[in-house]
């Protein structure tokens, strides 16, 4: 076991000093050091999507990357999407569609859809964004409904 060392991470727009060992995943550090509990370990092998965060705008599994590799990245978690107490449009769409049951997987789905909507229109795919996520409660229909609504809103904003 190697000692924890100091590490600077840019998370939710703020540079933070954290301590991490070489074995620590980004997920470990976000939870343990920063109390960002929206990312959760469910499978530990990058299959369930519950630990999804944004790395420079792209959705990644935080259980699959080492914390020490993340020093240059800008990390966003579901907590960081909230601006001045207002939900991000993707989060609001989930509330409107009631796209959650137990909600353990919800922030992961949200982060992937946020990343998807940042893609150029021709590369956006709801199916691709959702395929990396499991929801054992089976809220897929409502999640897809939230995604459809977001795509429609997005297109309207583009045209407007």
């Amino acid at each position: 076991m190697i000692e924890r060392s100091e590490l600077r991470l840019r998370v939710n727009g703020t540079w933070q000093e954290v301590r991490a060992t070489p074995q620590d995943t980004l997920l470990d550090v976000l939870r343990r050091e920063l109390g960002l509990f929206s990312c959760r370990e469910t499978c530990g092998i990058g299959l369930c999507g519950a630990c999804t965060v944004s790395r420079d705008g792209k959705a990644i599994s935080s259980c699959l990357v080492l914390a020490l590799a993340a020093g240059e990245w800008s990390i966003t978690t579901a907590e960081g999407l909230v601006q001045a107490g207002q939900l991000h449009p993707v989060q609001q769409a989930f509330v409107d569609a009631q796209a959650f049951q137990c909600s353990f997987c919800t922030p992961g789905f949200v982060m992937s859809l946020v990343a998807m909507l940042a893609e150029p229109p021709e590369q956006r795919s709801v199916a691709a964004a959702l395929s990396g996520h499991l929801c054992r409660c089976g809220s897929y229909g409502q999640i897809a409904e939230a995604a459809r609504q977001l795509m429609a809103d997005h297109d309207m904003n583009q045209e407007g």
Binding site: M1, T21, Q23, D24, D28, G35, L36, F37, S38, C39, R40, T42, C43, G44, I45, L47, C48, A50, T77, A78, E79, L81, V82, L87, Q91, Q92, F94, V95, Q98, F100, Q101, C102, S103, F104, C105, T106, P107, V110, A127, L130, S131, H133, L134, C135, R136, C137, G138, S139, Y140, G141, Q142, I143, A144
Partner: protein, 753 residues
């Protein structure tokens, strides 16, 4: 408020990731636990070497089964028989059984130290298959009957011998003699594999011993049962044990009864420090699962298709310890009879000990296994008699006032309606398959399921001096939306806005007793308790208002959240009445207690307070080149009584379909000499978004004549697998008798049939 959707009160926390799951709890000074688990299926423990681990960095204590002896605790737990040791004592009975626990200042340090522990075993023969476990020369897992726990009123303990954990028997009409009325007898053996719950949130608990009190924060579905198990274990009065349950990240049965709480409490007691345990996904696979089943079903029918006799011989694989198997095999025993008028019935249902992890409650609760058998066989019978499978079912379905095989008369019976509703899927046709190697077929299934009876729920309602209202309930919110539904019920009963109501979740120091959050019972049973509490609170409000207005209580009316003298304009708010009462708060507790129970020998009596009724119709495409099955269209209908929250109700049905479809096509825990061979989400396949039917229709059959609330959280799961199997048979002629219906299995059956 009833019958409308309502904003989930903590929706903000749910979408921002701030919901306070157990996982997030960590008092200062918390120790993190890692378990050393058996890597042999059955053995005497020769020695456990902990010396190296004890010296590892960050390690505070290492405990083994030896440490449980002579320290004044009762080291075994279980909801029926207390047969499961917190840490294995002298012997292990399955691969994955906890043998030692390491407590360290950091989870990674605890795991590193656990890897340094060496266990020496003297291996014993092991048995994995329930049929093998019944052989005369089979190794016996439990030599003596273990101490019986407080158990539950509905559980019948009998038939314990050899590796038989428990047995349920039902004899109705002339039983086996009834087969003499049959023109044809159909006999088949159906099998279902063990399956994991895979709740997204793993089992987790935080235990704190302080001031001679034990507080455990945990994600259980049964807070009171966990409290009582811990009180017994530590020989403490229940008043000194507190179980708190924050929102739970999925349960599906897997979080009923004590699981990880005892070992966390043990370490907290031993060290005087908070102890936290979080299981990994791999550990989840050896913690609890759905019972593997082998059901031999014999059915006698007349030439014109009337069912006259049925024999059920069901084996349920209990694994190494009892858990809740005695109840599950009972419900699974009469649950294998089906929603049909059958005058002569004979059921033997047994739970069998084997050297596998314990099986327990699982959404569908034994009925999924039974329905797989009887609804598959209905199509086999129809084919054998040259009848239409839909007609065969319609001819035999139970009707209002009929007796079930338990002898109880059935009321509020809607099998024909839910069945016909599901079949309306086939009123329209989808575009035909584009390739001739895609074979399309249609299938259906209809089921009956009980709810735990007798059972008890209590709810406390508290009106504050500002007129706001709290409902204190031990119903666990695990995604099913119970707290939203209970708030709606309370708001409606008091005539106040939903927004002024707060539901306070399980804390055994605060919220009154409830049997369990399971069995699709909470909205119905806890809802009834909430209504009763509201009626009492209303009475108190009226009585206090009468005093304040100096009028007779009969002249007070309460409407739209205010009280007034009948026929006058001036009103008193709830807050004014509470304030005027000088009591600070007005409080009342309402109870719901159902009655029932079955005779031990005959299984006759009252099995269920009300009966869950559901049906599924499915259309599938089978690629005969690969065996791949796609469920393109599916319609589910549930009898829903009076729906409280239509959005949540629908999501419960969709969830049941997702569960059922996943088990129909993909899920099985594969054991290799007692070791789980597919112990992660890479190798254990779950249905995902792409596997859900593109055309998924949900229908809630309501009864406008009733205000009674009907459970519906599981009803549409059991019919999914047989409906798909029947559709596959319709498409290809291939009949699966065993789940799951993987592409490989379809191809193999195509070659052999």
């Amino acid at each position: 408020m009833i019958g409308k959707s309502a904003q989930v009160s903590d929706a903000f926390e749910r979408v921002t990731g701030r919901l306070g799951y157990v996982l997030n709890h960590e008092p200062p000074g918390t120790l993190h636990l890692a378990l050393v688990r058996s890597d042999v299926p059955h053995a005497e423990i020769r020695s456990v070497s902990t010396a190296v681990a004890q010296r590892c960095r960050g390690v505070v204590v290492v405990l083994t089964g030896e440490d449980l002896k002579g320290i004044g605790i009762r080291p075994r737990f279980g909801p029926v028989y207390r047969d499961q040791p917190v840490l294995a004592i002298d012997r292990v009975r399955y691969v994955g059984e906890p043998v030692a626990v390491v407590a360290a200042t950091d989870a990674r340090l605890a795991r590193a130290a656990a890897a340094e522990i060496e266990v020496e075993y003297d291996e014993l023969p092991a048995v994995f298959d329930p049929k093998d476990a019944l052989a005369a020369d089979a190794i016996i897992l439990h030599e003596q009957s273990d101490e019986r726990g407080p158990s539950f009123a509905d559980i019948i303990l009998q038939g314990r011998t050899g590796n038989v954990c428990n047995m349920f028997t039902l004899r109705h009409g002339e039983g086996l003699d009834g087969f003499r009325y049959a023109d044809r007898i159909f006999e088949n053996e159906f099998a279902t594999p063990p399956v994991q719950h895979v709740s997204m949130e793993p089992h987790a608990a935080v235990a704190v011993f302080e001031s001679n009190r034990l507080t455990v924060t945990t994600c259980t579905q049964t807070p009171y049962a966990v409290r009582d198990a811990l009180a017994h274990m530590f020989d403490m009065p229940a008043s000194r044990v507190r179980v708190i349950v924050p929102p739970v990240g999925g349960g599906f049965g897997g979080k009923t009864y004590a699981k990880v709480e005892p070992v966390a409490a043990l370490v907290a007691r031993y060290t005087g420090r908070p102890a936290k345990i979080v299981l990994s996904r791999e550990e989840e696979f050896v913690t609890n699962s759905k019972h593997q089943s082998i059901i031999r079903l014999r059915t006698g029918v007349t030439a014109d298709g009337l069912l006259v006799a049925r024999q059920v011989d069901a084996l349920f694989n209990a694994g190494a310890y009892t858990d809740i198997s005695p109840r599950l095999i009972k419900n699974g025993g009469y649950g294998a009879i089906g929603p049909y008028r059958i005058p002569h019935v004979h059921v033997d249902s047994r739970a069998i000990f084997t050297n596998l992890p314990s099986s327990g409650a699982f959404r569908g609760y034994g009925v999924a296994q039974g329905a797989w058998a009887y609804e598959s066989q209905m199509d086999i019978i129809a084919a054998g008699l040259g009848l239409d499978p839909v007609d065969l079912r319609r001819r035999n379905l139970l009707r209002e006032g009929d007796s079930f095989a338990t002898g109880e008369a059935l009321h509020d019976v809607h099998f024909r309606e839910v069945f016909d509703d599901a079949l309306s899927l086939f009123d329209t046709d989808a575009a035909p398959p584009e390739h001739d190697y895609i074979k399309r077929g249609r299938g259906c299934a209809v089921i009956i399921k009980s709810t735990i009876t007798p059972s008890t729920s209590n709810a406390t309602m508290k009106v504050n001096v500002d007129g706001s209202v709290q409902v204190l309930t031990s119903t666990v919110e695990m995604g099913q939306g119970s707290h939203t539904a209970l708030a709606q019920i309370a708001a409606e009963a008091l005539g106040i806005p939903y927004s002024e109501l707060q539901v306070v979740g399980p804390d055994t120091d605060v919220t009154p007793y409830d049997l369990t959050t399971s069995s699709s019972r909470s909205t119905a049973a806890m809802g009834a308790a909430v209504r009763e509490a509201a009626a009492q609170v209303r009475q108190q409000l009226v009585s206090h208002a009468a005093k304040q207005l100096k009028i007779d209580p009969d002249d007070v009316e309460m409407r739209d959240g205010v009280l007034r003298q009948r026929g006058t304009e001036g009103t008193l708010s709830l807050g004014q009445v509470v304030s005027g009462s000088k009591l600070g708060t007005l409080t009342a507790t309402g109870s719901y207690v159902s009655e029932g129970g079955l005779d031990a020998a005959t299984g006759q009596g009252i099995a269920s307070d009300h009966w869950h009724q559901g049906a599924v119709a499915a259309e599938v495409d089978v690629d005969i080149r690969t065996g791949k099955v796609m469920v393109n269209r599916l319609r589910a209908c549930v009898y829903a009584g009076n729906v409280v929250n239509p959005v949540n109700a629908r999501m419960q049905i969709v969830g049941s379909i997702a569960f059922g479809l996943s088990q129909a096509l993909f899920e099985q825990i594969i054991y290799d000499n007692g070791h789980v061979a597919n112990q992660n989400l890479s190798e254990y396949a779950l249905a995902g978004w792409v596997d859900m039917p593109a055309d998924l229709q949900i229908s809630l059959l309501e009864n406008p004549a009733t205000t009674a609330i009907h459970g519906l959280g599981e009803t549409c799961l059991p019919p999914v697998s047989p409906a798909i199997a029947n559709a596959i048979a319709d498409a290809t002629g291939i009949r699966c008798l065993q789940l799951p219906m993987t592409a490989e299995r379809i191809i193999d059956l195509a070659a052999s049939q």
